[in-house]
């Protein structure tokens, strides 16, 4: 079973990503990461991101088509992320894609970035089929989503303040580990003791919602105090303890959703799901409950064009189109 041949763009944040997909089959998936550009600022700078997208998109498009061995004339549709994300970044991919589609009279589809992430497990696993629960955790989002069926989603819970990836980034910056913080903390934690410091796990009384701003305050206060009294733990122990606090909450809320809704399929998406400790813990908890855990490869967890192509294929097959007069929607919701 193959699906429509789609050229897909993802430019919602700091990766310019282009892919060619056929249904859920990935023919090419290329990206130009801006991590190094933003590292010196300690976070993603919107204007820097938008500038980099417009520089990269044309040549990446040629590369994606070339690697897929696909001529533009054989495409069935063109898709781009419509939101949520940074408006200046979204506009580059959306405008470019829309113009391409119009010039050949091809169907155009603006895709919800979060729906793209929901399709990522499906790209790596043929047997990832709803109903299921998906944990979406990245620098911009933290959500637990129930997939009743493709196109039928319910956001069960989300962060009430910082996203999980944002917590990693901010705490890594505080610790002097640079940007992005997730991979840095992941690496240091490998040899650290996760039980060295017990940081708070917030919102224990809510089944699915997250909060990470209290953790941030607690880490800053605890480590500053320890430093002043000469009892500063090792960087490794501090990193592992922070990671454990974040991972614990993400795993717990995801498993709450699995139990409450009786699903047998669980997936993950977003850059934080590339975290090794989170992956191990999710696998363990899924095994214990006898449910299937479908965690995409890290490259499919982070922002990519293929996930947008897969989501678009599903909607194009249902006959959906995005009108030419549609604009981006930076605060789009599932």
């Amino acid at each position: 079973m193959s699906g429509p041949l789609v050229l897909a763009f993802e430019t919602s944040c700091d990766e310019t990503a282009v892919a060619v997909t056929e249904g859920t089959r990935v023919l090419s998936n290329v990206l130009s990461s801006q991590v190094d550009m933003h590292a010196r600022f300690g976070g993603v700078v919107p204007e820097v991101a938008a500038r980099a997208h417009v520089e990269a998109i044309r040549s990446l498009t040629h590369r994606a088509l070339r690697e897929a061995g696909v001529h533009p004339d054989s495409l069935d549709g063109i898709a781009a992320t419509r939101g949520p994300g940074l408006v200046g970044s979204l506009l580059v991919g959306f405008s470019f894609a829309k113009a391409m589609a119009w010039s050949r009279g091809l169907p155009f589809l603006g895709v919800d970035h979060m729906e793209g992430h929901l399709f990522a497990p499906r790209l790596d696993f043929d047997d990832f089929r709803p109903p299921g629960v998906v944990l979406l955790a990245s620098g911009g989002h933290s959500q637990v989503v129930l997939i009743n069926g493709w196109g039928d989603y319910r956001v069960l819970g989300q962060t009430i303040d910082d996203a999980a990836g944002e917590a990693f980034d901010k705490l890594a910056r505080f610790m002097g580990l640079g940007f992005p913080g997730g991979p840095a903390i992941d690496a240091l934690s490998e040899t650290g003791d996760p039980d060295r410091i017990r940081f708070p796990r917030a919102l224990a009384d809510r089944r699915y919602d997250f909060s990470f701003s209290g953790l941030k305050t607690s880490v800053v206060t605890t480590l500053e105090k320890a430093r002043a009294s000469g009892t500063l733990p090792s960087r490794e122990d501090a990193a592992a303890s922070i990671q454990e606090a974040i991972v614990d909450v993400l795993v717990q809320k995801t498993m709450n959703a699995v139990e409450d809704h009786g699903v047998e399929i669980v997936g993950g998406g977003g850059g934080v799901v590339a975290n090794r400790r989170l992956r191990t813990r999710l696998e363990e908890e899924a095994d214990r409950r006898g449910v299937g855990m479908f965690l995409p490869r890290p490259i499919m967890c982070t922002d990519n064009g293929a996930m947008i192509g897969a989501a678009a294929a599903f909607r194009l097959e249902r006959g959906e189109r995005t009108e030419w007069r549609a604009g981006v929607d930076s605060s789009m919701k599932l």
Partner: protein, 234 residues
């Protein structure tokens, strides 16, 4: 030569189809938001008016600024998308040049002004010549009072075109020999007119050379979280 012009660099947006030097269809509006919602419907409308098919296009020209960063990028991304798919040349042109080309004066020296916000304007001076205007020196980014200083020290009769309404009233008040005039905004038909001869002669560069002309480094505001450059363990 059939050329599509796209201009979303300033407070007004426009699209134009030009054949040789004749304007065949155009659409425009004022407002500096939602360029992405305006552009393709406007282009679609113009092609319908002209009875052209996208495949019949010989080239695309886009305003690369100076101007509003987001608008410039939407214009360039749209032009790049069209040119990539249609396999036609893409060219960039300056908003200031487009203003000067349409300035209505026979003898006055022309200063073209584009508002780039944050208290600054992009300006360039042009000598009127038969059928157009010749750029004197590369565009500059100046503060309002700095622009007044430029005009004050110029003894010639001057016509200021472009975003002069964005300037505080005091900037142009009481200046001898200085007048304000049309056009207020660059236009897609002026862009197309500027390049149509070049396309005919095959004078266009590689698409990668069509890039925004920002004239200013990005604004970088660091997060509010307390930042330890060296880290806790140093």
């Amino acid at each position: 030569m059939r050329i599509l012009g796209i201009d979303t660099a300033t407070g007004a947006s426009s699209v134009a189809l030009v054949e040789s030097r004749r304007l065949v269809a155009s659409a425009g509006r004022t407002g500096s938001r939602d360029h992405d919602a305006f552009l393709i419907p406007a282009i679609d409308f113009c092609f319908a008016q002209a009875g052209w098919h996208p495949e019949e296009l010989d080239g695309v020209v886009v305003d690369v600024g100076p101007g509003l960063f987001t608008g410039v990028r939407v214009g360039i991304a749209t032009a790049q998308g069209l040119a990539t798919m249609l396999g036609v040349p893409i060219m960039g042109a300056s908003s200031l040049d487009a203003l000067a080309l349409r300035a209505t004066t026979g003898h006055r020296y022309i200063w073209a002004v584009v508002d780039v916000r944050r208290g600054e304007v992009a300006v360039a001076g042009y000598q009127p010549v038969p059928g157009g205007a010749a750029l004197d020196a590369p565009p500059e980014l100046v503060g309002y009072q700095q622009f007044r200083g430029i005009l004050e020290s110029d003894a010639r009769e001057i016509l200021v075109v472009g975003d002069w309404e964005a300037l505080p009233g005091s900037v142009l008040r009481g200046l001898r020999g200085v007048r304000t005039g049309m056009p207020r905004y660059p236009s897609a038909d002026a862009l197309a007119e500027m390049v149509v001869a070049k396309v005919g002669r095959g004078e266009f560069g590689h698409p990668r050379e069509v890039r925004p002309f920002y004239m200013r480094e990005p604004d970088v505001t660091l997060g509010s979280v307390h930042r330890r450059e060296a880290g806790l363990w140093s």
